[in-house]
Amino acid sequence: MIGPVLQALWSHWRWHRVQLATLLAGIALATGLWSAVQAINAEARASYDRANAQLGLGQLDELIHPSGRIPLATYVALRRSGWQVAAVLDGRIDAGGRSVRLMGVDMVSYPALPALADPQGNPPAPESVLTPPGRLFATPDLAARLSERRDLPPILTSTALPPDLVLTDIGTAETLLGQSGSLTRLVLLPDQPRARPPLDQVAPDLRRRGPDSRIDTARLTDSFHLNLSAFGLLSFAVGLFIVHGTVGLAFAQRRGMVRTLRALGVPLATLSRLMLAELVVFALIGGTLGLVLGHLLAGALLPDVAATLRGLYGAPVQGQLHLRPGWAAAGLAMAVGGTILASGQALWRLARLPLLAAPGVQAWRRGTDHRTSALTGLFVCAAGIAAYSLFDGLVAGFVLLGGILTGSALLLPMLVSTALRVFGRRARKPVTQWVWADMQAQLPGLSLALMALLLALAANIGVGTMVSSFRLTFLGWLDQRLVSELYVTAEDSDQGRQIQAWLEPRAEAVLPIRNVELPHETGPLFLYGIVDHPTYREHWPLISGAPDAWDTLFRGEGILINEQLARRADLWPGDRLPLAPGMALTIAGVYSDYGNPTGQAIVAMDLFDQIAPEAENRRFGIRIDPSQASPLADALRTRFDLGPGAVVPQAAVKAQSRAIFEKTFVVTSALNVLTLGVAGFAMFTSLLTLWTQRLPQIAPIWALGLTRSRLAALELLRSVVLAALTAFLALPLGLVLAWVLLSVINVQAFGWRLPMFLFPWAWVQLFVLTAIAALLAAALPAWRLRRVPPADLLRVFANER
């Protein structure tokens, strides 16, 4: 019995190949976008985990000093009291224009060293590693970049190291970083002897922190990955609308067949199970297609994501995608689960269908109650807002987002219906009245597609507003901040001094750019020293601080910190920031510092010299009449025989910064566009679904004298009006979304709050785009209507319908 039933079920799809393709495409799109995001996240997380496991980072407790510096004497005191700790000195070095982490460990006591070997595969001789000049260990990629530098010790490669990390002995690190006598952290070894004195007795200044309390890459980037996941989920949901529409249609069309099969004696249970099995098979096929799509998409996006993560967080991510079985299994499970979820309603109705019910489609379409939906929507919105007002942070932000989006989507049918009723009441002409009434009647079948469109449009407006606001703010800030006409980098501090002396009489001002990396409990902190010059007072906007903040700074009595540090460490003007043992400065102000993941602080140059006298002095900003900049750059290059990269005009620096910025949101924008595409497709499938049920409604109108062309045009109009109504409602929703992204999510993800700008022109573009999508979605049904043979329309009256 099963064989013929299967044949009968399959015959439907043989006759409705477009429908089958739509169903599979829906499942594939939903699974594909979701899986792509998951693959990217998994790859990035695997990179972090690998990095952690490779050097035992993130497994053992550590001791740190609030200032980030631990005197060597403290280490020795701990050891001589019995505490087993391994000394680590972290820093950064330049590798082919990119700053990478240098991790100097006491190679004799560090607990988790990978196997290291020389090019012949032998273990390197201990004396070569532990005595000057020492050896550096890095991945082959990084080693190749480092090899451009002549001033480094010999480099040995190891694939067992995290990318973007140079491992070396602590003695070598001291020499390279120009820092001796202090350490950045102490790793507590797993085996400790008996009878140790309490830690606070030996080293009262040190704080012990567990692996989970450390702000590591994984935590730093969590919000970024959560952002991606949210997008993936949105795409998945929109994809499911397609599945829902298609399955609903297919089941409606098969009612006749179902009735016949049951009349022939096929039990309902068997039939339901077979149809469920059919869906699972489709889900698996569509899901597999989706996985392929997702893998390709992830492969295409990963390099950009990796660049973003590296640029923003300094997070080590390899730009290479691996196929993970768990990922494929999860993707297929999502596909099957999603398909069944989206088809649940159709299956449920099938199971409850009376044996002799008429095979009409009205029964299927008999709409969900707008009011119930709207009430649920209001409740979900309220729940989201309540969650945000009760809780704080990123997750609360996302709950707010989810609540508002879902709630508004549920409210949509009610709002559209109300709008249509209002329009309908104002209509005077019969045809117009019919058009409004007909739209009202079609609404239940279209409402899911409209919800999908609403979500996609809102996401588009929201994300677009965020990215554009960010761009505007960032570029404005760049213009403000990058004021020096030329930026010079000397080969070393000696040449730096010569250049500075040479420039003094020739330029308006020579502003040294000197910095030193200090460890801070929130991660690395870059301290800059500046000289008193109007450039800073005029061009560095403070988001918080006293009016005399700059005076306090230049008197050496205060420090300015960037917004990231302020938010991360919750330090605001008036608080004190410890910089070195026995030295803490009062925060005079907070400045905005977009596009930079790390904490930053500024002190007067005199003070900087006390804190980091050994910091190099080889970078300068030069203020000069812009028309003189280019000749001066040439003269400078000639005089000091500098390479092309050593003297950079302002415009080049800005271009570089812009390029980094554009990369940051390339993934977001790509997902944004894809989501909109999927929503357009959902609208198309819904209209196609409705088309099959249109004839009985249109035939009487046709019979009353409206031509098929007129009806087709009205069909197009209907689609555009509904889309426009949705887009109109999506606008405020999108703006709310943008506000949440800018003021909640961004602060958590990047550490800065951005002002919101509105871009009405972008909305117009989006409206036009939506209208075009609606036209395209309705084009096929309309074209069919135009070409429908009058006999078919006549048959409606003869038919049992």
Binding site: V108, E127, L130, P132, I170
Partner: protein, 348 residues
């Protein structure tokens, strides 16, 4: 002797490429080489000799507890130089390693420490005498009166040592030859310390008394290329006489040496071939067959003895693993002492 160890190619990632045990067979370029006719200079020579590749301060003691039980302890500080000089800071080429052991008849505890020279975490000074690594120390104003401490995760000891006799110089006035080819070290001992103090066991502290033996040795290449390990004995007989004896096992035959120290402290060196070692019984320890009972014959002194381990499981499972533990002596002479054995094949 205790050509013990070294080590220090002990950095696990650099694995032992090792010729001989623990890299001791490698050549000594740039380092000083022991010369015959050396005149020792005390107290300076109790301190380190950075221009030699390896050096150690090696103390063992046989102890009796207030509970009547026999115990043994080991406290060792090794120095290994990557380059023949010392400088301050992490750039120092000197490395230090500490080993501590505590043996009861049924349990053996051990611990290991590693440290870099140049920063004060470990080192030795001659005046006042101090040898330390982390919180372990062996120190006193002079080397004749020392306090000794070590701790592991679940054991430790605090002992005081008082010398009761002169230093003893092995080989040719402290020039101790280690192979037929002439590899040698500087080697002297203080074999007669009276020891008292407390042992910390996981479940109790035990007051102990007994006698200790300190070995001092430094060299740059103590093993010949074919030598793979050694058996080293320091024995104290009930008569008051003492015997230091070792056998270096080589591909081209064994090399033996011994020093007879009589109760008054005068010593006599016994050259290669005078003493015979015969393993009588082996025990399976850490997957290896280790001789834990020996027959030793020294006809020149009328010695025909059996030496057996107090605890055959006295395995030092450190980076370079070896057997080291207290022994009891029976036969022509009765007494007790310490035995160290290295280079017995690792499990396949």
């Amino acid at each position: 002797m205790n050509v013990k160890a070294l080590v220090f190619l002990l950095l696990t990632p650099f694995a032992a490429s090792a010729q001989g045990f623990a890299g001791l067979g490698s050549s000594a370029e740039g380092f000083d080489i022991p010369q015959p006719g050396h005149r020792f200079d005390f107290p300076a020579d109790h301190g380190p000799h950075p221009s030699f590749r390896i050096e150690w301060w090696y103390l063992t003691a046989n102890l009796t507890g207030a509970d009547g039980q026999e115990y043994g302890i080991q406290w060792t500080l090794f120095r290994s130089a990557l380059r023949p000089f010392e400088q301050s800071g992490w750039q120092s080429p000197q490395l230090w390693m500490g080993h501590a052991g505590l043996t009861t008849p049924d349990t053996h505890f051990f611990a290991e420490r590693l440290a870099r020279g140049g920063i004060g975490q470990a080192g030795v000074t001659a005046v006042p005498f101090q040898a330390w690594i982390d919180e372990w120390h062996m120190r006193g104003d002079i080397i004749d009166a020392l306090s000794l401490r070590a701790n592991g995760a679940d054991f430790g000891y605090d002992l005081s040592l008082t010398a009761d006799g002169p230093l003893v110089f092995h080989g040719d006035n402290g020039y101790s030859v280690k192979s037929a080819e002439g590899q040698a070290s500087y080697y002297y001992s203080q074999p007669r310390y009276a020891v008292s103090g407390v042992l910390h066991l996981p479940d109790r502290d035990v007051q102990v008394t007994g006698e200790g033996w300190l070995d001092r040795e430094w060299s740059s290449q103590p093993l010949a290329a074919d030598q793979s390990g050694w058996d080293w004995f320091s024995l104290t007989f009930d008569t008051g006489d003492k015997l230091m004896a070792f056998r270096l096992r080589g591909g081209r035959g064994d090399f033996t040496a011994a020093t007879w120290i009589n109760a008054e402290g005068t010593s006599q060196s016994l050259p290669d071939g005078q003493i015979r070692f015969t393993p009588v019984q082996t025990s399976s320890v850490a997957g290896r067959d280790i001789p834990t009972e020996w027959a030793i014959s020294l006809p020149a002194k009328g010695v025909e003895i059996r030496v057996s381990a107090l605890n055959p499981g006295a395995w030092m499972g450190t980076r370079f693993a070896y057997w080291e533990g207290p022994v009891t002596v029976s036969g022509s002479h009765a007494g007790r002492g310490y035995l160290e054995m290295t280079g017995y094949g690792a499990p396949p």
